[in-house]
Amino acid sequence: MSQTEVNYQKKELPAILNKVGLVLLVVGVLLGIIAFFVDTTRASFNYLVSYSFLISIGVGAFFLITLEYVTDAIWSVPIRRITEFLAAIIPFLAILVIPILFNMHEIFHWTHEEVVAQDNVLQGKASYLNISFFTVRVFAFIAIWSFFYFIIVRNSVKQDSSGEQNLTKINSKFSAIFIPVFAISISITAIDLLMSVEPHWFSTIFGVYYFSGTVIASLAAVTIAAVLLKEKGYLPKVTNDHLYSLGALMFTFVIFWAYIAFSQYMLIWYADLPEETFWFLQRWEGSWAIFSILLIIIKFVVPFIVLLSRPAKLNPKRLKYIAVWLLFAHLFDLFWLVMPGMPGMENGYVFSWIDLVFPIAAVGFVIFLFSMKAKKQNLMPVGDPKLKRGLDFHL
């Protein structure tokens, strides 16, 4: 497959994109630093929310890439490079995690030795929940994700010029190995970062819960980028049929998330064991109850209705808006998971400007990274042997 056949001519993304990303990032980071000085606890908790959000987009996007290789998917090939740009977040996680490691005392009360000393349950968990093992796990997972990321994306980019079929085969093999590794690492990440904020609470489904949101967030990010690029003419021959599958997958995972969330809630509510219910009761205190109700509406009811019909999934405009909505929904979900555990917020939500700061930085970071990647590389995997079939794809 030569480049001429797919007629791809690289067009530079507008410079404004880069600038917008950079401005948001710088503003977000500066405000973030101020936030850490003003209220360290609140800033740390918020930082954790945004960090988990970035893991969702980056690692989730990479999971989508590996899924394409493993299942020999065709339709997603023309937009795979976009997904690769988003997965570029992965190596940066090693730097992004540092503020959390320095503020663990603010977030995780199992790091306080005097608390653990008086708590039998936490003593039992101490061999798992301790600072050194936690740090090892965090960096080990980032290293593993980065390892697969560099191999697979490098091969994909190399294919742009060489068009070698064998690279696809190698990537398929690495992807098959990555998926079980991903399943284990994302589950443990969910337990470490999100569940252990309330170290007494436990739920076996929690890893799946975070995974479902992760897929929603990464699909939404891919959809936003794909629709915007297609609208501006950067992705020739990508049709609404390609976007349809993104819409259908978002729809599927919205339902999947609701299924997992319902299972978790219903089983705990039904069994009514105090060691489990307190976590949900916490999220029913004061104004948190409003958040709990809103979560169902924002993350399930609205996207379900919007994406249900077939024409909706073929309508790029609608897909774009609902994708933005779903990204927000995932952020909202993470906020709901983490923030009620913050000291001082037990009785209900109290507004603070700090809550808005880190998402701005996160969004700015993703936009900036995307535009930097787009400068160097083609927006389509032009050497992929499946690209022509991908462009020919029709529903």
Binding site: M1, N120, V121, G124, K125, Y128, Q165, N166, T168, K169, A176, I179, P180, A183, I184, S187, I191, H200, F202, S203, T204, I205, F206, G207, V208, A248, I255, Y259, I260, S263, Q264, M266, L267, I268, Y270, A271, D272, L273, E275, D384, P385, K386, K388, R389, D392, H394
Partner: protein, 458 residues
């Protein structure tokens, strides 16, 4: 073997013509049953009769004939129920979910898998009813206003089961029948026998293969697939609720719904592979149900095996992490208690042996895959045994601890359910086309819109 990614691999091998496909699929229906058929049906019929006799004895004397006791009130009856429901999941997964995922290879195996779904659900349905000990009162499971003012307990997941399974059976039947309509028309147009023509005419509902018919058909099929997809996931979810809503350690764990669904797909695919290997050989369908099909199915088995393995691991880890003593005990007791053998059969059969499917050679070797899928079937039965019996036999009070030992009747009725299942499967292969003729034609060489004489494959 190097793969060319630039072309679409053919689903049907050997470049069969449309007429050849039709002949190949319809052949078992046109020919008289041979010796092999009678041998097979005799064996499965014998098993069925064994089960039927033991069941009648159970009805006469009561379920005291079984090994159930205090504290193990749920044993083989519920184990078998969950096992068969699980087997029934592959059919709808293949026919509905793979349809929505646009997997063309599903066409070769969908009809057969759907039939197996229906038979498996029928087998499953027997057990909760006989397990109550008074099967003649089963009518009360359906909520209807009656003179006695007796209502079901709507907050009980056992009642949700009744709704879920009966809905599932109904929708599966409709889905299966909808797919059969064009094939009934084909059979009607081929047959020379008057009796057969009348029967096929009735069931084909006046199908004439017209453009408009196809348009309606496609739309209906897509809609039914959309309905069936959440349904298939909900059935095993609700089965898992039977256990997970309780407060029994080992049963009450939030991961149970997705874990049961993954396990159901796992066991269902294993059963479909088990049967398909024979069917494609006996009826000479190797060009339609190819090694590629089996390869892909084995990949699904591998993937779901790892999902199940992840769930085992998560349960174990969280039991420790929870810090709840009874929870920790329940899991240690599973692995190292009196039923340790059952636990390790489950782990090796479900998680270790399927890992062999990482190798392409093994995924494509018929004898190897036969061994592995049969082990998976065994392992998945034991999984339910471990969950149900092993969790029950150690009650909260050590004075209430007990052991469960199956009796001849327990084992015999299980064998009988296999007899029923395989009898239905064998009869099906002679009564209806085991492969969807119309769907296979649509994915054979030359049916693609981009086809211009086949130069791609020369």
């Amino acid at each position: 073997m190097s793969v060319d990614y630039t072309i679409e691999p053919p689903v049907v091998h050997g470049r069969l013509s449309i007429a050849q496909i039709e002949e190949m699929v319809v052949k078992p229906l046109d020919t008289k049953p041979d010796k092999k058929f009678y041998i097979a049906i005799t064996i499965s019929g014998t098993f069925l009769m064994i089960g039927a006799v033991l069941l009648l004895i159970t009805f006469y004397y009561g379920i005291g004939m079984w090994g159930n006791n205090q504290p193990v009130g749920w044993a083989f009856g519920i184990v078998n129920f969950v096992f068969w429901i699980g087997i029934g999941h592959a059919g709808t997964l293949i026919s509905a979910i793979l349809f929505l995922l646009r997997q063309k290879w599903r066409t070769g195996i969908a009809r057969f898998a759907e039939a197996m779904t229906i038979f498996a659900v029928m087998c499953a349905g027997i057990f909760p009813i006989i397990h109550t000990g008074r099967p003649w009162l089963a009518g009360y499971l359906m909520p209807y206003p009656n003179q006695h003012g007796i209502w079901v307990n709507f907050t009980s997941p056992l009642v949700w089961d009744v709704f879920a399974v009966s809905t599932y059976l109904t929708v599966s039947l409709i889905f299966w029948y909808t797919g059969l309509i064009p094939d009934f028309a084909t059979l009607r147009d081929r047959t020379t026998s008057k009796v057969k023509k009348t029967i096929y005419s009735i069931f084909s509902l006046g199908w004439r293969h017209s453009h408009r018919h196809w348009q309606h058909y496609e739309k209906t099929y897509t809609l039914l697939a959309g309905f069936a997809t959440p349904l298939v996931l909900s059935v095993h979810t609700i089965v898992s609720f039977d256990f997970a809503v309780s407060i029994l350690p080992g049963w009450h764990t939030t991961i149970l719904p997705p874990y049961f669904v993954a396990g159901a797909i796992f066991s269902g695919f294993a059963m479909v592979v088990t049967v398909l290997v024979f069917v494609r050989k006996i009826f000479d369908l190797q060009q339609i149900i190819t090694l590629d099909h089996l390869d892909k199915m084995n990949k699904v088995i591998l993937a779901t095996s790892m999902m199940v393995g992840l769930a085992y691991g998560t349960e174990f880890f969280i039991a420790w992490y929870s810090g709840v003593a009874v929870e920790q005990f329940a899991f240690l007791n599973r692995a190292f208690g009196p039923y340790t053998w059952a636990y390790w059969i489950m782990v090796t059969c479900n998680v270790l042996f399927p890992q062999l499917f990482w190798f392409k050679k093994i995924r494509r070797s018929i004898p190897m895959m036969m061994v592995i899928v049969i082990l998976v079937n065994i392992g998945m039965w034991f999984e339910r045994f471990v969950i149900i019996v092993v969790s029950l036999h150690r009650d909260f009070l050590p004075s209430s601890w007990g052991m469960f030992i199956p009796t001849l009747y327990d084992v015999g009725i299980l064998i009988g359910s296999f007899g029923l299942f395989f009898t239905l499967v064998i009869l099906f292969t002679k009564a209806l086309p085991v492969i969807s003729i119309s769907e296979i034609k649509a994915v054979s060489d030359g049916a693609q819109p981009s086809y211009h004489g086949g130069e791609n494959h020369e």
